[in-house]
Amino acid sequence: MIKKLALTAVMLLLCGCSHKTEVRDKGFVRTIGCDSGEMQSVAVRLYGQEEVLSGSGDTIFSAVENAETAQGKTLFTGHLELLVLNPAEIKDKLSVMIKNNRISPSCSLIITTGSAADTVKSYEEEELSDILDSSSRKGKIVTRNISAVLNDLLEDDSMAAVPVLDGKNLTMGVVGYDSVIGVLSEEESEGLSWLTASQHDIYLPINVNGKAASFHVRKSSTRLTAEADGDKIKITTEIKINGSCIEENISETESSKAAAEKISVLCSKAISKTVTGMNADVLGIEKCIRSENIASGQSWKEIIPELEFYYSIKIAS
């Protein structure tokens, strides 16, 4: 009996050792915009609320905590949908975010050339996420989550491809540890999308014999292969497309040829801007080469001049 009472007493005492917060006392964070300067300043947007909370602190989390006081609710970042950062201390901030166990690793990332906090404030509640999603669906950009970007930044080249918001223009860009190395044009950004992600249900504008037409891509998949070719390394991007031209009076062969040409041009533009222009391995070329045991012992920078790019675009209707 004494044992049971003692055990009950211990358990009752330990009941106090719990951090309970009722659901109604929690604010669920949807978007965070964070600017690094001398202090970290954040703009926090919650689910179902128009008001944007602001706060600043030494770290991103202390800044979020300070924003919390204005709202009176405990801010819960586990459902963070979008993180907007300015180009300073990108890697450090992402590392902290990943190490903090309450942030979803699948949270999307946008880098702004201006102030991230102001960007969050200037868009409506879901507007920024919607722009990101719709651009990604149209094959204009590729959405990247914080874990994937951090993984890329930890690679040897220390660069990652991320959607960059330049003014009101959202395209892909290449970022380093704490800077934006370059912003891609719309065409280059589209090319990068073809190179890195599968496309679904998009309409590609093509030109067949001087006549504008739309090529409907139902589904596409991309595969990268590396092959030693003398002192060169042959990188082949194989893109398999299932699609057809919408216009009925254009032949299947001609439209497919035009689509393949268009995609090749877009891809080569993206490659020349990122790999050749910025020395950035945003396609995972190095991993691909290493897995084939080619150029072992050479650094990424030594490999770049040896690379030759080929595109194999296969279209089936």
Binding site: V23, R24, F28, F76, S104
Partner: protein, 486 residues
Amino acid sequence: MKPTQLKNLTVIPDLSENLSKIRDIAGGSSDLLINEIEICGIKVALMCCEGMLSTSTITELILHPLMNIKLENPSPAALLTHIETRMLLSVDRPVAYNYEDFFRLLNSGFAMLAADGQDRILAFGVQGYDKKGIDEPSGENNITGSHDGFMEVIRSNMSLIRRRMKSPVLVQKLFVMGDKSQTDMCICYMSDRVPSSLVEKIMDSIEKMDLESVLSTGYVQPFIEPDKKRLFSSVGRTERPDVLCSKLIEGRVAILVDGNPFALIIPKLWTDDFQTVDDYNFKPYFATFIRWLKYGAFLISILLPSLYVAIAMHHPELLNSTLLLILAESEQNAPFSIIAETVGVLLMYEIIKEAGLRLPKAVGGAVSIVGGLIIGDAAVTSGLISTPLLTVAALSVVSGFVVPDLSQAITVLRIVFIICGGIWGIFGISLFGAAVLFNMCATGDYGFPYTAPISPFKAKTMGDIAVREGFRKMQNNDFTVEELHE
């Protein structure tokens, strides 16, 4: 006077002395009927207990033949010998030599014949008391199985079993327990299937029972289930003769108690609660589907409310955004803490259920209306309880109905799990879950683990646990519980 004392009090060869003793022991009880008559000039007394025997039977089968006896040399010994050897007045004809046996037989509905100068009293089995007819079991309903259930009379129950198992290896041993109640009990087993020492061990446990009365199986259960610290019972209970027979074939032992329409089954396994008669009448694929549905329902009934509380309070990241927002919005105006709300709803349900059970059927329906419509609807409309929570509680309660035999454990565990989940989240649920699991695994009497055949794992039995094999496969699987003995 105690029955043990009555045992030592033997019948003496003096009728008037015997009758005064009987009247004295009975204390003037009105249901004791003594008819003193003379047969062939010998004083005899025919005694019976009013209401315990059939009047027409006793008149036709006992009184008429007795009054027509004609002896050449009448003497008390010759009379009783004549009745015993020449007249088949009833099939059941025991003889009482002491007052313990006399009163037990008398009060069981036997007609007792005492003769002057004889130290024995003849008994004739002419029981004919009022009893309920064989009815459909109230708690173990099924669609395709038989629709007869046990009743309150032990001998009828024994016959229900015998009707299904005509083999001579079915042993049904009657014995009497309870100093005052003198209740008939019966232990049943298949002598070729039952583990050798199981019957002995159970009888040893029963003999240690020193109760004044045995009015229900619940009186016996604690004595054959010695480990009292367990959450789950290792003794099963059924009111269906077909279920009992299937258990006997598996080498289990059953105990019937007179006056109770339930039989106890030893040993019981956790998986037994998920098997029903219908499983064996449905197609195997459907029975398998239903069985897994029941396993799932058991988990839902215990864990769903606690997981809801734990996720809402501590781990909202486990929900997707849409679900979370629905939950958050509904809880926005609830005045109570989510733990209090959940425990409150479940306690309210238990109160309504208890009220519905104990009240007359006509009023019971009204309780459901008051509980379900008025309280439930009003609580949600007024914002006292959130709709998702009520849905979760209802789902959990309904799932609990799928395994009614485990309802006692489910009811209590559900509430403790909610408290643990509310305080320490999934960590608390897992910790308490570990404690329950250890408790379950420690359950098992007479060397039969309650968690068998899952742990210890017996692959051979999975044909009727993980799935429900067809009878073609099962007929070769000569399973007895002895295989699970540790």
